[in-house]
């Protein structure tokens, strides 16, 4: 009996038991749709997180004081103030560090801001004009402050959109005056909206010249010139490694430390944040897809169950076919084809439901869902394999039936 005839016979028998076939397919359908939706959800979340992180500044390296490797003696990460403006200036020299494009030292404090009767608390960051380039930010209204403002310790500020919103409502803040801890600043510009990343709200910030900040924050003594962070940007993604090494070597030299393991600073590439964040979402995706895979497995067991029932029910038919000359191989083939049809049909319908869900659900839960082509192709393939694999046992049972016992049974 050739394949076409066997397939037709298999299809006939599935159609004859259409309610049961449909319910069996439903099990596979739900499993496949669940896999497509969870993988899509995971990929959607991942691309959202990576775009949020790259919005913070591509090619960025973050230098923080303190070291995690010697935590027992020193304070933890960021607890000491070992980075200085001199460090930042040295890092900015093309001679020392040819692969570092921009350097922005940052010293930051959370302060009360007042404008008229409104007040608001936000982090105030003293920095240089390079900050915008390193963090990939733009001034959308007004002007950024300049190097001249830094030199002259000007009382000029740039505000984030959330600060502007809370102090001035919908009116433009440019040209207005705010009091930062009682010191008046004129607002030169407003930052673009960047949204919040996992760590911080990028729109709730005030930027002022770093020299002004040093003066205001009132640091004296050995920490007078210290900064809380130095942000660096590499000249391109390819030179991230080189920039990292140059910064590390230079800072070790400036701080007169021989052993890199005893460094009193830590350099964190932005990409490592990205890697951490994407590994978290990846873990979540794998977990969800695992649950979906269990649903699929249950669907497969459903196929096996229904095929076993079908074999038992059709014992006489199988016996007759054998008496008329069907070899065990032909019987095996017919039942395998039946199980595979159940799997593939359930899989294709599951892809339909999954894709529909991926198109409709984002409007309801405001969570992006990617439609992943490999996941679709993979699921149909997996559904076929599941049908086939879970069909093997029932089919071999049918093939092994003795024609005498089969014909005799009532």
């Amino acid at each position: 009996m050739n394949w076409t005839e066997t397939a037709r016979s298999a299809l006939d028998s599935l159609i004859e038991r259409r309610t049961r076939s449909a319910l069996t397919m439903l099990g596979i359908l739900i499993g496949i749709a669940a896999v497509i939706l969870t993988v899509g959800l995971g990929e959607g979340a991942q691309s959202r997180v990576s775009s949020a992180i790259s919005a913070l500044g591509t090619n960025m390296l973050i230098v923080t004081p303190g070291s995690v490797t010697t935590g027992a003696v020193r304070g933890g990460l960021g607890s000491s103030s070992t980075l200085t403006l001199a460090d930042a200036q040295a890092l900015g020299s093309k001679l020392n560090c040819p692969d570092i494009a921009e350097v922005a030292p940052v010293t930051q404090k959370s302060l009360v801001l007042t404008a008229g009767s409104a007040n608001w608390t936000a982090p105030v960051a003293g920095t240089t004009p390079s900050y915008l380039a390193v963090r990939n930010r733009q001034v959308v209204a007004g002007q950024p402050f300049t190097q001249a403002d830094v030199t002259t310790q000007a009382h000029t500020a740039i505000v984030g959109s959330e600060v502007a919103q809370n102090l001035f409502g919908s009116a433009s803040p440019v040209g207005r005056t705010i009091d930062v801890s009682g010191v008046p600043f004129s607002i030169a510009g407003e930052l673009n909206t960047a949204g919040s990343s996992a760590s911080a709200n990028q729109d709730n910030i005030v930027l002022i010249p770093i020299t002004t900040a040093e003066d205001m924050f009132g640091q004296t003594g050995p920490y007078a010139q210290s900064v809380s962070t130095i942000l660096l940007s590499a000249s391109s993604p390819a030179t991230m490694g080189a920039a990292y090494d140059e910064a590390q070597d230079l800072l070790l030299q400036l701080h007169q430390i021989r052993n890199p393991l005893q460094a009193d600073f830590t350099i964190t590439p932005q990409t490592s944040l990205l890697a951490t964040a994407s590994s978290i979402t990846k873990t979540l995706t794998v977990l969800l897809a695992g649950i979906a895979a269990i649903a699929l497995l249950v669907g497969g067991i459903g196929v096996m169950n229904i095929m076993l029932v079908s074999v038992t029910e059709r014992v006489r038919e199988i016996g007759l076919r054998k008496a008329l000359g069907a070899t065990p191989g032909v019987i095996l083939r017919q039942f395998l084809i039946e199980a595979t049809i159940l799997g593939v049909a359930g899989g294709i319908l599951g892809v339909g439901v999954g894709v529909l869900g991926a198109l409709v659900l984002p409007h309801l839960v405001s969570q992006p869902i990617s439609i992943s082509v490999p996941a679709i192709v993979g699921s149909v393939l997996v559904a076929a394999i599941i049908g086939l694999a879970f069909g093997v046992y029932p089919a071999s049972r049918a093939a092994r039936l003795s024609p005498i016992d089969a014909l005799r049974s009532e």
Partner: protein, 243 residues
């Protein structure tokens, strides 16, 4: 001409069916049941044989072995000169398909298939790919049993006698060496039973080998040869008087 040694070529005098010292033993738990003991039997081409016996006499077992649905525990079965007693499942399936036509007491038609689709089944398993050819052969077989106008009917739309005639058409469609009928009239009213027996008789007059297993003396009497089984042994094998 050299005539010694295998391969064995069947001559006109050689029997079509040849059982030599055939026994069949079933294990029922620790008990051994001897369903057939040392059966020797030869049936020639064109014979019309009835095998009779009480239930439990071993006639079903004999029919299963003759029909290649089962193999003997010991002994040899030659069908058309070929030893089939040690064949595997797949080979036996092919022998059944090519050489044996079955007619069962319960008809065993597939209910969702029309008459001709039931009749074409053995041709499908024989590997005949051309659907039109299969349909033609099935229609001819149905015509031969007087059902030319019922080819598209499903079994449920046919009477018991008509269903059994479809089954006979199915048994004949591959042009087998033997037609093996197991209580073919057991589920039929007497007038329909008579119709069926008439068909078997006409098959015999056309020269086909027919073996009928039955416990009904009326049916058995119509055959040309009677083989009586008792407790797994052949106790009588007699030719009917020429009518």
């Amino acid at each position: 001409m050299i005539t010694t040694g295998p391969p064995r070529v069947q001559g006109p005098a050689d029997p079509l069916i040849e059982l030599i010292d055939v026994s069949k033993t079933y294990k029922m738990g620790t008990m051994e049941v001897h369903a057939l003991s040392d059966v020797d039997l030869a049936i020639h081409d064109g014979e019309y044989v009835a095998i009779v016996g009480q239930s439990g006499s071993g006639k079903s077992t004999l029919m299963h072995i003759l029909g290649c649905l089962d193999v003997p525990t010991t002994g040899t079965y030659r069908l058309g000169g070929t030893d089939v007693s040690r064949m595997g499942e797949a080979e036996l399936a092919e022998v059944r398909n090519r050489r044996i036509g079955f007619v069962f007491q319960q008809f065993h038609l597939l209910p969702r298939l029309s008459a001709w689709r039931n009749v074409e089944l053995p041709l499908l398993y024989a590997g005949m790919r051309n659907r039109a050819e299969r349909k033609k052969r099935a229609d001819e077989a149905l015509e031969a049993v007087g059902l030319a106008n019922r080819t598209a009917h499903r079994p449920t739309e046919l009477s018991g006698g008509q269903q059994q005639r479809v089954a006979i058409a199915r048994a004949l469609v591959t042009d087998p060496a033997i037609v093996l009928a197991d209580e073919p009239t057991g589920n039929l009213a007497s007038d329909q039973a008579d119709e069926i027996m008439t068909i078997f008789e006409s098959l015999h007059t056309q020269g086909r080998t027919v073996v009928i297993i039955t416990h009904e003396p009326d049916i058995a009497r119509r055959a040309r040869r009677l083989i009586r089984l008792l407790d797994g042994r052949i106790v009588a094998s007699e030719m009917a008087p020429v009518q």
